[in-house]
Every structure is written in C-alpha cells, then in structure tokens.
C-alpha cells in the first residue's frame, strides 16, 4: 500500500474514532438536562 492509501485509512480511522467519541460524549444521561439548562439560559437571554 502506498503512503497516500495508508494516510487515507488513518484518516478514516481518525474520523470514525472522533465520531464514536462524539456519540459517547453526547449520549451521557446528564447531557439532556445540561442542554435543557443551556437552552433555558439562551431563551432568557433573547427575551
């Protein structure tokens, strides 16, 4: 496999890991409440 092909594989692997990390991060049970609190903050700010 040439260098570019190897880099492509690494790149896809990296993006996949980042996406998995994002899913793990955003599916933590407290995240919904966290976002709800932030939405409340912004709603109050815009009012």
């Amino acid at each position: 496999m040439n260098t570019e092909g190897r880099e492509n594989i690494f790149f896809i692997l990296f993006i996949l890991i980042v996406l998995v990390m994002a899913v793990v991060y955003f599916t933590v049970p407290e995240r919904a409440l966290f976002l709800e609190n932030q939405i409340k903050w912004w709603k109050e700010f815009i009012e």
Binding site: N8, F10, M21, E30, F34, W42
Partner: protein, 672 residues
C-alpha cells in the same frame, strides 16, 4: 486620575519590557517576545510589591507607582543606551527608528495574521467566536463583582489584608481560613492587588486571569510552531485551546488555576527554544560524528525565562513545587543530552557533563525560580517549622515536617472515590454535569477535549514514535508526568494544562492529514461553536445581566448579585454586606466578633477600610480593646453577649444597621 495612572503604568511597564526584548528579535520569535514581556512585566510587579511589602512595609499606591516608573525608566534607558553604542545616529533618530521598527513589526504580523485567517473561512469563524468570547468575558468581568467562593473566602481577603496592612505579613489566626490565608503562596494575589491598588476598586481584578488565558493561547501557538507544525494549524491549535469551558469561565474570576496551568505551559515553551534544545542540524559534525557546537551567547536566556516563569508558578499555588520539580528534571535531562551531544566523548566524562548540566540548571533555572517563588515556603518554614504547613510531610513512616493534616483536606465526591485511577478522569471528561461552574469538579474540559483532542493525542503519539519526533515525545512525557503526579488530577481545574497537550496534538494531526483537513476543521469549528454557546454559568443569568446593566457602578455588589453558587449559604449575610459596601469608607475600622461566612465583603470595594476581629469573655476588656484598635464600626450578632454589652453603654454606640441576625453599630465620637 486613578484610571489614568493605572493605564499609564501598565503601558509604561509592558512597553519597556517589549522594547527590551525587541533587541533580541534574532533570539526570540515575535510571539515569544510577547510572552516574555508578560512574564517580565509580571516579575516586576511581584518583585516591587514584595520589596515594598516585605522589606519596607510600605505597600501603597504612590510608592508602587514610583518604584515601577523608576524601574521601567531604567529598562528603557538601558535599551536606548545599549543600542546607541552600535549606532552612530543621534539619540532622537535612534529612538524614532526603534519605535518605527517596533510598529512596523507589529503591523507586518497583523497583516500576515489577517491574510492567513482571511484565506481560511473556518479559521476566520473560529477567530470571530474567540474574539466575541473575549469581549463577553471582559463585559461580564466589568459588570459583576467577584462572586466565586474561593475568591470571597481567601483570594480577595489575602489582597484585602495586604492592602490593609500596607505590608506582606502574617494576620492573626482567628479562624480556619485565616490560617490558610497566612500559609498560601500569594504571587497571583499580588497581581490582583496590582489591579486594585491604582484604580481604588475591585472592578477589573476578576479579569486578572484573562491575561493568562490570552497568553496561554499565544503559548500554544508558539509551542506548535516549535514542533514544526504549519503556522495555520498552529493558530487552529491555539484558538481551540481557548474553547475549554473551565478556561472561559475562570477567566473572569479571582481564581488561580488558569494562571498556574498557563505558567506551566509557558515554562515548557521557553525550554523548547532552538538554541538550547540541540545543535542546529546543519552544524558541521566534529570528530567521531558529534556536533561540536557551542552554546549561543544568549543561549541561557530562554532557560532563565523558563526559570522565572516556574518561579512565578511556584509562588502561585501549593501545587507549584510539583510542576517545578517536573520542569527541573526536564531542564537537567535536556541539558545533559545537549552537552553529551556537543562535547567530544573522549575528552569529557559523563560525570563532568552531569556536573556542568546541574550547575547550569542551578544558575539559570533553580535560582530565578527560587527567587520568584521560594519566599512563601521559606517564610512558612521559619514561622511554622514546615514549608508547606499545615500539610504534614512524611517519608517511609518518618515525619520530615510536622503539620496538622496528613492528606488532602477537601474530600473528593463520593462518585469519584468509587472509581479507579483510570475511570476517574474518564468519568470527569465525559462531563456528567447539569451545568458548568468555574470550579467545576466533574466537568469543565469540554467536548473539544474529549471528542477531538483525546484521539489526537493517541494518533500524534503513534505518529511521533514512527517519525521519531523526540520533541513531541518529550513534551508528552512532561505533560503525562505532571498529570499522573497531580494528587487531584480528576479535578479538571487543576490539570487545565493537559488541554494544551491536546491542542498541540490536534495541530500535529491536522498537519499530517493536510489534504483531507476539511472534515477535521469542520468538526473543530462545530465543537468550538458548541462550546461558545454552552459555556454559560448559572451564576450569571441573563436576568442578572440585564439588572446589573441598569445599576450604577457602586450598586453592583455581591449582595445585589446574589449568585447561585453562594446564595443558599450567604442569603442571611446580604443585609450587612450591602450596608458595608455603601457606607464604610476609607480609614474606617470595622470590628467583627464572629467567624463570618466570607471575609471579603467586610471590606469596601477599594479595600480601603480596615477589619479587625475582637473577641473576649469579659465586657470591660472587650470594650477597652475596641478603643485600642480605634474601631469606628462594630459588626455583631444580634442578641449576642456583645450586643448586650454595647446596649448597656448608653449613647456610646448607635445602631446603624439591623436585621434578623446581625447588627452594625457606629462608635460615637464622644465615646473617646
């Protein structure tokens, strides 16, 4: 006048050091000179305050202003005279060309930066978010008083006591917190004082850490460039470092955690300067294949700057010795390797190299570090018999320094105690929190760290191993050692520096994936934008912002703010806090007779009144002590014994404030 003197002295101080470093532009990059200017300016502030506070016991605005004008003038005169020796032009012409060159360099760099971000839309958007965030932090810092728990509990009282006494000295140990007020290292509190003493108010002192945040962003850029990361990705790395919720939230508080982590990063940055790392690659090889390179005449300067930075860090927090220890090991090892490479092995033995390396470390790193931060530890050793009092220091079951506590006083949350060393940080990095707080215990590093930086660190480590990028590996070892050795590494605010490692790793990854960078850049922008939107604290609500915008400067007090973090505990204190902030003026002495929740609100916003704890079992003696201390106001608990004593002294005390729990009485003049 106060604002004018504050602006003038700051401009003068930092301009003089920038001009000084401009002479060494071949040695230090533009960004490193800005960082060096910040460090030398901070060094001057700390040294002059310590000189006035410890030696002369005259830590007052006028003296501080004069001594700093004098020192900065000396720096400027030195710069002009030293350069004039090399130039035959007249003094006026020389100064004119110096100023022109400085402005030209700044404008050239600004143009370059503008061109880089203009050609990269995502970078431009991230920079806009960064700029808005900084403006927002400044706005909130200006609008709200210092509201954080530790600021009110001991950071600001330290500043209050130093200003009250006009000296750096011990205060009577009347309460639990006063013991810590005495023993804590106080370098950053000296910066807080700098931002109070000329302005005669505490309005901007809560923005002190913002200077560290901005310098931290520059430091990440500088380290990234030294790692040979493309300058555009270095800018990405540095801006993404900023998008860490704990950094955003702490930048407008009187805490010291951002300062500590950024000082650590800055010290590492100086150690990475080319002229001390290794001989240049193009240097001719000597006999036996070694590079017989000699250190640049000014090669010690970055180590010296690193030593000064480490010293400021040493004197900023109790964890300072840990960071300085790690940096010391890095300096000695690096120096040993450099000297081994650059000397002829048949002529110089390893022991000789080790001795020389250690001597170099002692002179250019340890001594400046000790001078900048050692005072607090030596003072504790002399007074309490233990440099880190009240912590007990033991080794192999034998006590080296006696203390009151054998472990960390503040217990970890139960959920943390149940986890092991690996799962603890992961749990915290996943941020199982409902909101962010400036001292966020179970979150605060944000999604950029977890989603983007953590995988970047792993990839960069592997990449660095393959490419034998020893610089990055050394950096990784330093950061990892500091993280693993920190006793409370599960608490994000104590280990903010690891975000720096993540940012640098991201730079390396971006550099590696050059052709495919768009996806990574878009993810970076989305996460930065998300962090920008969610780094709001429940302590500063939109309702409170709108309310405070309608109030005059004098009315914007902590009691009016009633922030979420202290409200439940402090509600019953608001009445007398408000009265004190409105009525106690310069020269007044307020006596209190109980351990208050926070000491800070007993001072007015200029910290120009005095506070004194007066307590005794006998009324006569107590009343006599009030006279001796020239007390003008008394803060007492309602229906306490002191309340009865002053009640029996008809006409001598007039109640000026009273609520359900507390009473403030004015001592009438005719009493004396």
């Amino acid at each position: 006048m106060n604002i004018v003197s504050y602006i003038i002295i700051n401009l003068f101080l930092f301009t003089s050091w920038y001009t000084f470093f401009f002479r060494y532009k071949e040695l230090l990059s533009f960004v490193d000179r800005i960082i060096s200017t910040f460090i030398l300016g901070l060094t001057q502030i700390i040294v002059t305050e310590m000189l006035l506070g410890v030696v002369f016991k005259k830590l007052y605005a006028v003296q501080l202003l004069l001594i700093n004008i004098f020192l900065s003038s000396v720096v400027l005169i030195y710069v002009v005279s030293a350069c004039r020796k090399q130039s035959e032009s007249s003094c006026r012409n020389y100064i004119r060309s110096l100023v022109a060159n400085i402005f030209k360099e700044i404008s050239d760099k600004a143009v370059w930066f503008g061109t880089v971000i203009k050609n990269d839309l995502i970078l431009l958007l991230i920079f806009i978010l960064f700029s808005i965030s900084v403006c927002w932090i400044i706005f909130l810092g200006y609008l709200f008083p210092s509201y954080t728990w530790d600021a009110l509990w001991y950071h600001l009282p330290i500043a209050g006591y130093l200003l009250q006494n006009g000296a750096i000295c011990e205060v009577p140990n009347n309460s639990f917190i006063e013991q810590f007020i005495n023993i804590f290292p106080k370098n950053i509190e000296l910066l807080f004082i700098w931002n109070i003493i000329f302005l005669e108010n505490d309005i901007v002192t809560d923005l002190s850490q913002l200077f560290f945040t901005i310098t931290g962003v520059l430091t990440i850029y500088s380290i990234a460039v030294k790692l040979k990361i493309n300058k555009k990705y270095a800018i990405y790395s540095s801006l993404l470092f900023f998008f860490t919720p704990i950094i955003v939230l702490q930048s407008s508080t009187n805490y010291v955690d951002v300062a500590v982590s950024v000082l650590f990063l800055m010290a590492i940055n100086f150690l990475m300067s080319d002229n001390i790392v290794s001989p240049p690659l193009n240097f001719p090889l000597g006999k036996g294949g070694h590079r017989g390179v000699k250190r640049d005449m000014w090669g010690f300067a970055p180590v010296l700057l690193s030593g000064l930075t480490a010293g400021i860090l040493l004197g900023s927090k109790g964890s300072g010795p840990l960071f300085v220890g790690i940096l010391s090991a890095a300096v000695i090892i690096r120096e040993f390797i450099w000297r081994s490479k650059s000397s002829e092995p048949e002529k110089v033995t390893a022991i000789k190299i080790a001795i020389k390396s250690f001597s170099f470390y002692l002179i250019f790193f340890f001594i400046p570090a000790f001078l900048m931060g050692g005072y607090w530890y030596i003072k504790n050793w002399m007074i309490y018999g233990n440099p880190v009092y009240p912590m007990e220091i033991s080794f192999l079951n034998s006590t080296i320094f006696k203390g009151l506590y054998q472990g960390i006083i503040e217990p970890a949350p139960e959920v943390i105690n149940k986890l092991n060393a690996v799962t603890r940080p992961l749990y915290v990095w996943l941020e199982n929190v409902e909101y962010y707080l400036y001292d966020s215990r179970l979150g605060g590093l944000g999604p950029v760290w977890f989603i983007l930086f953590l995988p970047s660190i792993v990839f960069s480590f592997v990449y660095a191993l393959i490419k034998r990028n020893y610089r990055f590996i050394a950096l990784l070892i330093i950061f990892t050692a500091a993280f693993l050795m920190h006793p409370r590494n599960w608490n994000p605010r104590y280990v903010i520096f690891i975000v720096g490692l993540g940012a640098l790793s991201f730079g390396l990854v971006s550099d590696y994936f050059q052709e495919r960078k768009n996806a990574i850049r878009i993810i970076a922008f989305l996460l930065a934008g998300y962090t920008f939107l969610i780094s709001n604290s429940p302590c500063v609500t939109p309702k409170q912002i709108k309310k405070f915008m309608q109030l005059s400067v004098n009315e914007r007090t902590i009691a009016v703010h009633a922030p979420f973090n202290i409200d439940l505990h402090a509600r019953q204190e608001y009445g007398y806090w408000m009265w004190i902030s409105r009525n106690i003026s310069r020269g007044e002495t307020l006596a209190y007779t109980f351990e208050p929740l926070f000491l800070s609100p007993l001072w007015n916003s200029a910290f120009s009144n005095k506070i004194v704890y007066i307590k005794d079992d006998k009324g006569d003696k107590w009343l006599k002590m009030l006279k001796e201390k020239d007390v003008t106001y008394l803060l007492i608990r309602k229906n306490s014994i002191e309340d009865k004593w002053i009640g029996s002294e008809k006409g001598k005390y007039r109640t000026v404030f009273s609520d359900e729990n507390y009473k403030i009485a004015k001592v009438m003049q005719n009493e004396y």
